[in-house]
C-alpha cells in the first residue's frame, strides 16, 4: 500500500518511512503543507498519515481542503494534542482515525490497514481470492492451507492485485504502489515479481491482460 506521510520532525519522518516499509507499506514523505498539497494533487495514495501541526500551517486545513475537493483518501491524523476536543476537531475535519504521540509503529500500521479496509468496504482484514488468503497484518499468504513465503515486494504486488481482484492494474500503478517516487524503478521489476508470484501460487493465479496490465486470475 502506498502511504503519504506528512510530518515535519525529520527523525520521526525517517522512522515512519522505514518502519512502515518494514510493515509492508510503501511510504512517501513530505514535511510541509505545500509539498503535501502538491503530492496529493499529482499522485494517488491508499492512505495519508498527517501530522496536525506543520511549520506552514495546520494539517487540519489541508484535510478540509482535501475533503472539499472530494478527495476520499483515508487519513490517519497524528498529533501531540490528544485532548478530547482535539480528537473531535480532527475527526470532524475529515480524519478517518486519530493517533496521539508517542505512538507504536505497529499501531500506526494496524490503523492504516483498518482505514484502508473500511475505505474499500471490506469487513474482514483478510483478503481471499480463489483459495488464496492474504493477511495484510501478519503479511501471511495461504494457499490451500499452506503458508506461501513471499518477499516484501512480491507481497506488495499481490496485495495491490487482491485489493481489487477483478480490476486490471496497469504496470505503472503497480510500480507506483510499490515504490516511493524517490526510488529508482528497474523497468522489468513488476514482470519479475509477477513471474515469481505465479511460480509460488500457480500459473493461473495472476492473469496478464495484454497491453493493459494484470489482474487476479480464475483457477
Amino acid at each position: 500500500m502506498r502511504i503519504l506521510v506528512i510530518e515535519d520532525d525529520a527523525v520521526l519522518l525517517d522512522g515512519l518511512k522505514v518502519g512502515l516499509g518494514l510493515a509492508g507499506f510503501s511510504a512517501d514523505t513530505v514535511s510541509t503543507l505545500s509539498d503535501a498539497q502538491a503530492a496529493i494533487e499529482s499522485d494517488t495514495f491508499d492512505a495519508i498519515v498527517l501530522d496536525r501541526m506543520l511549520p506552514d500551517g495546520s494539517g487540519l486545513d489541508l484535510l478540509r481542503r482535501m475533503r472539499a475537493a472530494s478527495n476520499r483518501t483515508p487519513v490517519l491524523l497524528l498529533t501531540a494534542k490528544d485532548a478530547v476536543i482535539d480528537r473531535v476537531d480532527g475527526l470532524d475535519a475529515g480524519a478517518d482515525d486519530y493517533l496521539g504521540k508517542p505512538f507504536d509503529l505497529d499501531e500506526v500500521a494496524a490503523r492504516l490497514r483498518a482505514i484502508t479496509r473500511r475505505a474499500e468496504g471490506r469487513a474482514t482484514p483478510q483478503l481471499t481470492w480463489e483459495g488464496i488468503t492474504l493477511d495484510p497484518a501478519s503479511m501471511e499468504v495461504l494457499k490451500g492451507g499452506d503458508v506461501i513465503s513471499l518477499s516484501r515486494r512480491e507481497f506488495a504486488v499481490l496485495l495491490a492485485l487482491m485489493e481489487n481482484p477483478t480490476m486490471v492494474h496497469s504496470k505503472q500503478i503497480l510500480e507506483a504502489r510499490l515504490y516511493g517516487w524517490q526510488e529508482e524503478i528497474e523497468s522489468n521489476t513488476i514482470e519479475v515479481h509477477v513471474h515469481k508470484l505465479r511460480h509460488k501460487l500457480g500459473a493461473t493465479s495472476i492473469e496478464t491482460v495484454r497491453g493493459v496490465g494484470y489482474r487476479m486470475g480464475r483457477q
Binding site: D9, A10, V11, L12, G15, A80, K101, D104, L105
Partner: protein
Amino acid sequence: MMRSIRLRLFLILLAATGAVWLLAVLWTYVSTQREVERVLDARLTEAARMVSSLITDHHIDVAAAADVAQAAAAPEGFDVHAGDYIRQLSCQIWSLKGDLVGRSESAPTTSLADHESGFAEKLVNGERWRVYAVVNPELGVRVLVGDSIEIREKLVGDVIKGQLVPALAILPILAGLIWLSVGRGLSPLRQVADALSLRSADELHPVDDSGAPREIRPLLGSLSALFQRVEAAREREKTFIAYAAHELKTPLSGLKTQAQVALRSDSHEVRANALKQISLSVDRTGRLVRQLIDLAAVDSLDKSSASETVAVYAMVEELRGEMAVLVSSREITVESEFAEDLAVSVADKTLLRLALRNVIENALQYAPRNSSVRIMGKQTAAGTTISVCDTGAGIDEKDEQRLKARFQRGNSANTLGSGLGLAIVEMALTKLGGRLSFGRQAGFCVCLELPVSKA
C-alpha cells in the same frame, strides 16, 4: 502585640470604660465637695447671724442661744437619714475680752477660732473644724459657729460610696457584655475565615466582599488580588507543563519509532541509520529540555529593582566555552568584536545570560557549516546593543513577529531548532526593559538592545 483581637478589644474597652468611670467619680467627688461646702458654709453663716441677732434682741439668753443655732440650722434630711450628722453644729459665744459666754452642748470649751470674723479652719482637740465668726459689737460678743470637717468629708465620702458600690457590682456584668459584643462584632471576620478555610486549593476565585464590613474589605481585596496572582502563576505553570509535554511528544515519537525500526530490521544499514537518527534526536530533545527549563526560569524570574553589572566579555567567553563542542562540530569561527571592558548594568544577570546563550546557540546552529559568527557590542547614550551576526539565511522580515512567539521555527525547514530560543530571548529582554531586534547589514544579526541602567 496581643494575639487575639477579641481580647485586645475587650481590654481596651474595659480600660476605657473604667477610665471614664473613674473620671466621673472624680468629677462627682470634686463637685459634691464644693456643693457640700457651699451649702454647709451658708448654714454656718445663717446660724451665726441668727444667734447673733437673737441675743441682740434679748429674746433669749446668751447661753441658750447657742443650742438654738444647732436646732434651727440642722437640715431635715440629715436628721432623718443619718443620726451622725445631727450633732454636727457647735456654737460658742465669746465676750470680746476672751471669756466663754455660752456654748452649745456639742461645742468644746476651748475656742473654736481665733480670727475676728468670717470663715476659718482650726484644729481643736485633734478635731478639725470649720468655723464662721461674727462679732456683735452691741453686746461685745463674738459668735462662733462651726462644724466638723470630718463630718463634711464623711458626707462627701458617702455620696461617692453610693456611686462606687453599684458601679463595682455592675462591672463584671459590663465586662461580660463587652466580651460578648466584641465577639459578635468580630463575627464577619470569623465568617470570612470559615469561608476561606472551606476552600480547596483550586478555588482561587475572588473573595465576595459585598456583604463584608468596610473595615475588612481592604484585607479581602488584597486577598483577592493575591489569589489572582497565584492563579495567574498557576495558569502559567499549567500552560507551561501542557506545552512542554506537548512539545516533547513529537521527539519521543521519533525516538520510539526509530528504536522500533532498529529492533525489527535485519539490515545493518537500516539499523545504523535508525541509531544515528536516535542519537540526533536525543541531542535535539536535550536542547529542547534545556530550553524549556530556561523558559520556565525566565518566566518565573520577577523584575527586580536591584541592578548587577555584567562584564560582557567574560560572559561571552564563558558561553563560548559551554558551546565549544557545537562550535567545533559545525566548524564555525566565533569572533568577539567589542571592547574587553564593555559592561552593562542589568536587573538580573541570569536573564541576560539566558538571552545571550540562546542567541549565540541559534547563530551557531543556523550558520552555514564552516562560516563565522560575530558577536559585537556597542554602547550609546541610549544603552547597550549586543548583536550576534551570522552568514546564514536569517529569517524573513514577515516572520519576525511570528518567530518571537513560542514554538515557531523558521520556515527554512532546518528542523534542529525547537522554536523556543527567540521566545526566551524576547521574554528575558522584556523583563530587563530591553528589546529584541534584527539587523541585516552584515549577514543576519540578532540584536539585544539593553537600556541604560537607571541606577
